[in-house]
């Protein structure tokens, strides 16, 4: 396997709230090899966005990193100063595609003004060079009439076109990693497919890696090379998409995939409800809902083991 560009190791993050300390991430491991698209899947509230924010260095002020490291191109991002993160990493080495294309652009400025602003921050060559590069990128994201597009306002574009603009923005400073947090959930399926295709092409063309957050296994199957499944702030299973989706090993992955309408015939669901980060169960957080739970599951968190091409954190495979 290629060497990893991003390497998240045992990340634990907690946020104090009015009702006590919320342990949002509890030991998350993630690896993004060069040139690959890694999907992060999980149900709502399992900490996907928090993981993204940690990598981008935009955690809420109150958040505490209790443990772990985020290795990126030989550095630990958690050790960098906020100024370094802003200057060298966020928007430059790591591009970001936000979830809602309708909210992410300011309606009162032209698209060009907003995209050039990002570049001015990070690169010193002249405005004309920036503009030429942007037009090149807009052509790459297949936006019709890229030159004129820069002088138009966001409301003149459809949802899919806005997402293309934002993708161009994420690629503007020649990043090595692009992070996308549910970039297509506000779009229609036909538009979604076009965007996914575009991302796939851009990843190989610009030689970037990608972290793709979603809750849709179908999208993972279409787009991602690897997938990491999260449950209540813990990474439970990670490996090549085909291996994980076709033969899931962790009981949570198995049950979740069995809920997908393409697989579910009896629609069993998963009994119980998602563990709250305020009073998380000890050990493996899935054990209260797990049909194969044993007393050891209450104990220390199971270590990741390598089984059938993937990493699984479950005592069944220990």
């Amino acid at each position: 396997m290629a060497e990893a560009l991003l390497h998240v190791d045992g990340l634990r993050i907690s946020i104090p709230t009015d009702d006590g300390l919320a342990q949002i991430l509890d030991h998350v491991d993630l690896e993004i090899p060069k040139g690959r698209i890694v999907g992060v899947v999980g149900e709502s509230g399992c900490g996907k966005s928090t993981l993204v924010r940690a990598v981008l260095g935009i955690l809420p002020r109150a958040a505490r990193v209790d443990e772990g490291r985020i290795g990126f191109a030989g550095e630990d991002l958690l050790k960098l100063s906020p100024a370094d993160m802003t200057r060298r990493i966020r928007g430059k080495a790591i591009g970001f595609i936000p979830q809602d294309p309708f909210l992410a652009l300011n309606p009162v400025f032209t698209v060009g003004t907003q995209l050039l602003e990002i570049m001015r921050w990070h690169a010193s060559d002249g405005r004309a060079a920036h503009r030429a590069h942007l037009v090149e990128l807009l052509r790459a994201v297949q936006l019709p009439d890229p030159d004129a597009a820069l002088d138009r306002y966001p409301h003149e574009f459809s949802g899919g076109q806005r997402q293309r603009l934002l993708i161009a923005g994420a690629l503007a400073c020649r990043p090595r990693l692009v992070i996308a947090d549910e970039p297509t959930s506000a779009l229609d399926v036909t538009t979604q497919l076009q965007i996914l295709r575009l991302l796939r092409d851009l990843v190989s063309r610009f030689d970037v890696s990608m972290l793709f957050v979603t809750h849709d296994f179908g999208v993972v199957a279409q787009l991602c090379d690897d997938v990491m499944v999260m449950y209540a702030g813990q990474s439970v299973e990670a490996g090549p998409t085909a291996a994980v989706l076709d033969a899931p090993k962790h009981p949570y992955t198995q049950m979740l995939i069995a809920c997908h309408p393409d697989r579910a015939q009896d629609l069993a669901g998963i009994p119980g409800s998602v563990a709250s980060p305020l009073k998380p169960p000890s050990g493996c957080r899935f054990h209260p809902r797990c049909p194969s739970a044993k007393p050891v599951c209450h104990g220390p968190r199971p270590a990741q083991v390598h089984v059938a091409e993937r990493e699984v954190a479950c005592v069944l495979y220990g």
Partner: protein, 329 residues
């Protein structure tokens, strides 16, 4: 199966206003000549992209949105052409479950009062009878009786769905219009809601119109499917047949674009052209022609009719005889 609800040539215009000293804003043809029938006990899926008029179709059939043209028949009796309040009185057998369950409940009212109110409005009494019916419906949808004391913001997404479902089921309807009943729900919760819907239908003998844009869910739940594009139905067929051999080019494109839980699918297999046009600028003739790989000049001239072709399938396309190896009946 007997037909219990039929709509014919339904048109609903939304918005549109004459503005003082400014250009008049034209109305949106949100539903543009829809004909459908619902058969007793079936689940009819209505599928289409965002903004194609699925919810408006549901609200028009329910009666809270008055139709601009066309008729609605319930058990063969015409129940259209009247103002919304009368329409609702005539269509008590039809109920609608909103897309956004959290927003469909008054945040100041407890669940118990909300359910009771539905019965009071519909003249069910006395109090004990209402309490009995509420307890039964809560059990039916799998909620604890203590839920009655809770408020909407204290409940989870799945529980809220159950409450909105309970609120219409307590009125003992025959037809339930389900508007995106699983949108915004997690996969595991979605599975339990879908199972509940299935069980309730079998138990209470309900007929569903199942509005959704998730083809996987529709395939699992529906007996027949109607595909909608910019306010018009372009194809209806039995679910299995539709998924097996789509005829309308839009259906083909939609099915190809829908993500499926199958590994090894190529991202590049399907040809997707363009993006859906805005509802305020529907192309002339066949609305899909601007994105259709098979469009010819004739497509821009006349709106294709929804023709019955083989095995109960209906298609609105000028070129279906060339695209599908099926016979016109």
């Amino acid at each position: 199966m007997a037909e219990i609800l039929a709509v014919e040539g339904l048109v609903t215009l939304l918005g549109g206003e004459k503005r003082f000293l400014r250009a008049e804003r034209p109305p949106v043809r949100a539903v543009d000549g829809v004909s459908l029938e619902l058969r007793e006990g079936e689940v009819l899926g209505v599928v289409g992209e965002s903004g194609c008029g699925k919810s408006t179709l549901g609200r028009t059939i329910l009666g809270i949105q008055r139709e601009t043209a066309g008729t609605v028949r319930l058990d063969g009796r015409v129940v259209s052409g009247v103002d919304p309040r009368t329409a609702r009185q005539m269509r008590r057998d039809v109920q609608y479950v909103h897309q956004d369950a959290a927003a469909a409940l008054d945040p100041w009212w407890s669940i118990g009062r909300t359910l009771d109110e539905a019965l009071v409005i519909n003249g069910v009494g006395p109090g004990e009878e209402r309490a009995r019916r509420i307890d039964r419906v809560l059990r039916d949808v799998g909620l604890d009786p203590t839920t009655k004391r809770r408020y909407p913001h204290e409940l989870s997404g799945g529980q809220l769905r159950r409450v909105t479902l309970a609120r219409v089921l307590v009125l003992a309807p025959r037809i339930v219009l389900l508007d995106e009943p699983t949108s915004g729900l997690d996969l595991s919760v979605q599975a339990t809601v879908l199972r509940l819907l299935r069980e309730l239908r079998a138990e209470l003998g309900l007929t569903y119109m199942f509005i959704s844009h998730d083809l996987s869910v529709v395939r699992l739940m529906c007996d027949r499917v109607a595909i909608m594009y910019l306010g018009r139905i372009v194809e209806t067929a039995e679910t299995a047949k539709l998924f097996e051999s789509p005829v309308h080019p839009y259906t083909t494109m939609l099915l190809a674009a829908a993500p499926r839980l199958a590994t090894g699918q190529g991202l590049h297999a399907a040809a997707i052209h363009g993006e859906p046009p805005s509802a305020t600028a529907v192309p002339s003739g066949c609305a899909f022609r601007t994105r259709c790989p098979h469009a010819i000049d004739a497509c821009a001239v006349t709106v294709p009719t929804l023709d019955l072709i083989a095995d109960g399938r209906r298609v609105a396309c000028h070129r279906w005889p060339e695209l599908a190896p099926l016979e016109r009946v």
